[in-house]
Amino acid sequence: MTVMMASRVQGGIFTLMVVRIGDPYDPTLNRELEEQVARSPGFFAEAPVVLDLKDCLGCTAVADFTALKQLLSRHRLIPVGVQNASTLQMRAAKAVDLAPFNGAQSHARRAAVEPAPPAVERAPRAPAEPRVAAASRPRLVTQPVRSGTQIYVRGGDLIVVAPVSAGAELIADGHIHVYGTLRGRAIAGAAGDRDARIFAHRFEPELVSVAGRYLVSDAIEPEHLNREAQVALIDDRLTILPGWSRS
């Protein structure tokens, strides 16, 4: 039952903006940021950003980063880390609680220099996400899943267009769809994906689980049973949504 005891520390994939820094004291940086933020203020409000230091020769002192943080916070941006930093830069960055980021170097160039498109780049957090599997092909099952059978889809979704019997177990790192009656167990997000969901055409499960949170049938309100339902992790609570509602 390792699935049930998923660790408190789990991986996540986030989209972050990258701001390319040349000279931290260059007044044009302030102006460019102002223009960019003014274009879509809602989008940039309180947004976490990564500082790309590839073209930055300065920024080796803690004071440099303090100044940069003040500048960014005036534009309501929250710096969370740096990438392409030299050893000296990294040491100073750590002193002001900026984390090292790797990857996405090749895309980071245009940020903060070209006026359009907005300086938004994907900086996937490469480290600290061992439990999130890469996407793979979904698996389609067309025969009834009988008692005693276990199906596991590593890194993907599971789609069953047949009934799933009591005593059968469906496990997927992604979503689980059952276009029949779900009477067995369904364990979605088995590798920790908290956005995974379970969908059942007719919902009578023994147990449902998403990212380690689970409900046994005893704990499921009877109003959800014998009809279509989906299971999602909402505000850290395993929630059963009647039918195909979107929330």
Partner: protein, 272 residues
């Protein structure tokens, strides 16, 4: 080439041996040369139900081990032409069902017989798996109660994964659901699962409904396949089931309590 039918259930005591005897007798009565084999090594019962227990000399295990040949072990039924009984050993256990030996016997039987009915032991261990391995068709015997239905479900899963046909990726084993010990009155009182409940859970075509009947016990105690009792509801129900297996269309009887003629339309639906 003979067709191998396994009579199986997972759960014990649901009526596998009664069904094996009735089915084999029914097929033989229809003119098909049929043999019924007892796979329940160590718990030999088929010979009793078939009323030939005093004629057993050699058994299935003797033939598997090469101590006797098939003709020495097969017992010819005295009442029905074309019907042969292949008893098993009472002194050995399931491990005596060696794969190569069983395979050789089955191949030999398929040459001589049109139908080979295999009476499976209960459980999902070696004995039951050996019995279902060679199946071309399976009769899944189920009582209308939840534990029997779940065990049947498990066995259907094993037919789809552990049979020779599954291993060799041939056409899957033909599945037939036989609901036994059915009491429409108790279904109405909510004490038993209904035909529709069981069909819905197992999603396997329904071959027949055998009503709970005292004649079944009497028949097995006197060593007479119940299908030979043409007066009893259970005998008639088995006859219907064998006819459907042979491809005939028959109305599904015994699904509702007696004298409820105004619901006949429902019978027809249950048969579909």
């Amino acid at each position: 080439m003979g067709k191998v039918i396994v009579v199986t259930s997972g759960k014990g005591g649901v009526g596998k041996t009664t069904t094996s005897a009735a089915f084999a007798a029914g097929l033989a009565l229809r003119g098909h040369k049929t043999v019924v084999i007892d796979f329940d090594v160590g718990l030999r019962n088929l010979d009793l139900v078939m009323g030939c227990e005093r004629r057993v000399v050699f058994d299935f295990i003797n033939v598997i081990n090469g101590d006797a040949n098939l003709n020495q072990a097969l017992i010819r039924d005295k009442r029905i032409d074309n019907l042969y009984i292949f008893p098993t050993s009472q002194t050995r256990d399931k491990d005596a069902l060696k794969r190569e030996g069983v395979e050789r016997v089955m191949t030999e039987l398929k040459k001589d017989f049109e139908y080979i009915v295999c009476d499976s032991p209960a459980g999902i261990e070696h004995g039951a798996l050996t019995a279902l391995y060679h199946a071309d068709a399976a009769i899944i015997v189920t009582n209308p109660e939840v534990s029997s239905v779940r065990d049947s479900d498990r066995i259907i899963g094993l037919l789809a994964s552990k049979s020779r046909r599954a291993e060799k990726r041939e056409k899957p084993v033909e599945e037939h659901l036989l609901l036994t010990r059915y009491s429409p009155e108790r279904v109405q009182r909510g004490e038993m699962l209904s035909v529709e409940d069981v069909r819905e859970i197992l999603s396997v075509p329904l071959l027949g409904i055998i009503p709970e009947s005292e004649t079944v016990l009497k028949a097995s105690n006197t060593g007479m396949p119940v299908i030979l009792d043409a007066q009893s509801p259970a005998g008639r129900a088995y006859d219907d089931a064998v006819a459907r297996f042979a491809g005939e269309q028959r109305e599904m009887r015994f699904a509702l309590p007696e004298r409820r003629g105004f619901l006949r339309g429902w019978f027809g639906r249950a048969a579909s």
